[in-house]
């Protein structure tokens, strides 16, 4: 430290630091520090760590947890009640039977339910950017994406998944489908790819919030809205809408295209039926793009801080 303290203007800064060097203060030897550091935890390890903390947090309020789980189940089940009520009046919807619509509903809700359970609170990112708590995540030695993805992880979200799974199971029993090995295999592939596509939508939406902090509603339109859309057969929607979710925003690959193959239904827009097997590719592409969007978003945040 300089012996003679001096006030420095901008120009005098260099002078002050020189003076400091000249006095040659030596740091205390044997200081804390040069300890060996293990590599920072990866994505999945971070995710499970944080998710585990949130589970413990929710279990601190056991009664409220049970109520939320039941509530989640009932609220999401209401969507299916609406469909069931419709079928009490009509025999088919857009040319699809009750069991077929239930199959679409079950696949859409299960895939979305899984994605939602995994990273449903990632849309709170905008709030974290606004109130500055994102910074506290950036000073931890762990991937930020995993930290935000696991944010507010809650087992009560299993309510939706359970409900979707039950409807899917019921529809599989009620469907009159000639099952082939290919069709049987396609069911889990469809569910996993669908989950991945919805996950990509969640991540991309969150990345967008680095620029537009109030975009959570826009994101909901694509996630929750997309889920609801896919619960109905494509024949009930306008062609342009179907085009949009096929070519531009590939939600059709979540369940429509593979499910129509399983149900032996004609494809919309005259699309070829081999598209039924492309969801894994589409999902991989979506995840890659979402990952890139996330990186760009984080970079933008770290260069602007807002």
């Amino acid at each position: 430290m300089p012996d003679a303290p001096e006030a420095v203007g901008a120009a005098g800064v260099a002078g002050a630091t020189d003076a400091m060097d000249a006095t040659g203060v030596v740091g205390v030897a044997g200081a804390a520090g040069v300890t060996e550091r293990l590599p920072a935890p990866g994505m999945w390890a971070t995710y499970t760590m944080i998710a585990g903390m949130w589970i413990r947090s929710t279990l601190a309020y056991r009664a409220s947890f049970v109520m939320m789980l039941v509530g989640n189940f009932l609220v999401t089940a209401f969507d299916f009640v609406v469909i069931a009520l419709m079928f009490s009046q009509v025999r088919s919807l857009g040319g699809y039977s009750f069991a077929e619509v239930a199959f679409l509903y079950g696949t859409s809700t299960t895939a979305f339910g899984l994605a939602n359970a995994l990273l449903g609170s990632i849309d709170k990112l905008g709030a974290r950017v606004r109130d500055g708590t994102l910074d506290t995540l950036l000073v931890r030695p762990a991937p930020v994406l995993a930290q935000v993805a696991a944010d507010r992880f809650g087992l009560q979200r299993l309510g939706r998944l359970l409900q979707g799974g039950l409807v899917l199971g019921g529809s599989l029993l009620a469907l009159h489908v000639h099952w082939t090995v290919l069709k049987v295999l396609l069911v889990p592939v469809m569910l996993l790819s669908g989950t991945a596509i919805f996950c990509a939508v969640f991540v991309a939406g969150a990345a967008f919030q680095f620029w537009a902090q109030d975009a959570a509603e826009v994101q909901s339109a694509f996630t929750y809205g997309g889920q609801t859309l896919l619960q109905y057969p494509p024949t009930v929607f306008a062609k342009d809408m179907v085009r949009g979710v096929t070519y531009i925003f590939p939600l059709a690959f979540v369940n429509w295209l593979p499910a129509l193959y399983i149900l032996g239904r004609p494809y919309p827009l005259g699309l070829p039926s081999w598209l039924a097997f492309t969801p894994p590719l589409v999902a991989a592409l979506c995840l890659t793009l979402a990952g890139l969007a996330w990186r760009v978003g984080v970079r933008a945040y770290r260069s602007t801080g807002s």
């Binding site: 430290m1 300089p2 003679a4 303290p5 001096e6 006030a7 420095v8 203007g9 901008a10 800064v13 260099a14 002050a16 630091t17 400091m20 060097d21 203060v25 030596v26 740091g27 205390v28 044997g30 200081a31 804390a32 520090g33 300890t35 550091r37 293990l38 590599p39 920072a40 935890p41 971070t46 760590m49 944080i50 903390m53 413990r56 947090s57 601190a60 309020y61 500055g132 708590t133 910074d135 506290t136 950036l138 000073v139 931890r140 030695p141 762990a142 991937p143 970079r299 770290r302 260069s303 602007t304 801080g305 807002s306």
Partner: protein, 320 residues
């Protein structure tokens, strides 16, 4: 490697968009940090002060790797903070005075267990560090208490412990005593002093409380308008700013302004008078002089606050 923190000509420029019409937006550049250079040797405890919006927290954010600098070079413990964010995070501890990093609904201990796993702290090391923090920060009875039930002072102590379990080389404290009561402040300061003395942990702290600086830091850096205005000892800062302390005297009755050498009356309110005198001067002779000549009932001395000191620094050449 004696300098643990090195900054060379560091700048941070933000684009700020302002609405100037219904559709029109004006883009303006704000230089939050405008060419800052300094070095901090290992084991030093430095106060980093300045008015709100001066660029303090932007500097801290660059040092911790949250923000990337627009220009210049930063090295902390041999790492580039923004390029090697996670590596950097393992070697620093950060405490944001106004934002807790503890888990709100969980017992305090759970937050430490997460740190144990996330920072990959060897078990023995973790135990040792935790025991130490628990003892010195008086946390033993709080470990099982959910964080939401802790008082502000207890939470701050808890946060400081959380930032130290992984043996950081540098501890960044952003307003560590804000909102704390006198006893909590004293505890926190004592702990930081011990930490610095025994472990030689380098500490950089921002604060609004001049007492923090007085009791903790031999060196203080003042930043304003993104520039380093002063870098040196605290005493020198008072001189540089020609800052003044205030002596408040209660007289027996209303009297004309007190005449005392080396002080001037700045305010009179009934029997109470306020006298300003240079912060570098001792209050004792002044008090003795007044007590001898006037019917003195009571008195108190007020320290200048940082804002006042800094404001005075500019009352010379700087115009703004």
């Amino acid at each position: 490697m004696t300098d643990l923190i090195e900054l060379d000509g560091v700048e941070k420029v933000f684009d700020v968009r302002r609405k100037t019409g219904r559709w029109r937006r004006e883009k303006r550049q704000v230089r939050a940090v405008d060419g800052i250079s300094f070095r901090v040797p290992r084991g030093e405890m430095v106060g980093y002060i300045g008015p709100n919006g001066a660029g303090k927290s932007t500097t801290i954010k660059m040092l911790t790797g949250i923000l990337t600098p627009s220009a210049g070079r930063i090295g902390v413990a041999g790492l580039d903070p923004s390029r090697e964010r996670t590596k950097m995070a393992q070697r620093i501890g950060v405490v944001f005075g106004q934002r807790t990093t503890l888990w709100w609904d969980l017992p305090l201990y759970d937050s430490y267990r997460l740190a144990h796993r996330m920072y990959r702290i060897p078990d023995a090391r973790f135990r040792e560090n935790l025991d130490r923090c628990v003892e010195l920060l008086d946390l033993a009875s709080l470990l099982d208490v959910p964080v939401r039930q802790l008082s502000l002072g207890q939470r701050m102590r808890g946060d400081i412990a959380a930032a130290l379990l992984h043996d950081p080389d540098v501890l960044y404290l952003d307003e560590p005593t804000i909102g704390l009561d006198v006893i909590s402040k004293a505890k926190v300061r004592q702990f930081l002093r011990d930490l610095n003395a025994e472990r030689a942990t380098t500490i950089l702290l921002t604060t609004h409380d001049l007492t923090d600086i007085e009791q903790l830091c031999k060196r203080v850096m003042v930043i304003d308008h993104g520039r380093l205005m002063y870098d040196g000892a605290l005493a020198g800062l008072h001189e540089a700013g020609e800052s003044e302390r205030t002596l408040v005297v209660d007289l027996e009755r209303e009297l004309p302004p007190v005449r005392a050498e080396g002080a001037r009356v700045i305010k009179v309110e009934g029997p109470r008078q306020w006298l300003a005198f240079p912060a570098s001067a001792s209050a004792a002779p002044l008090v003795a002089q007044i007590a001898a000549e006037y019917p003195l009932v009571d008195l108190s001395v007020r320290e200048p606050d940082i804002e006042a000191v800094i404001a005075r620094m500019y009352e010379g050449p700087e115009v703004h």
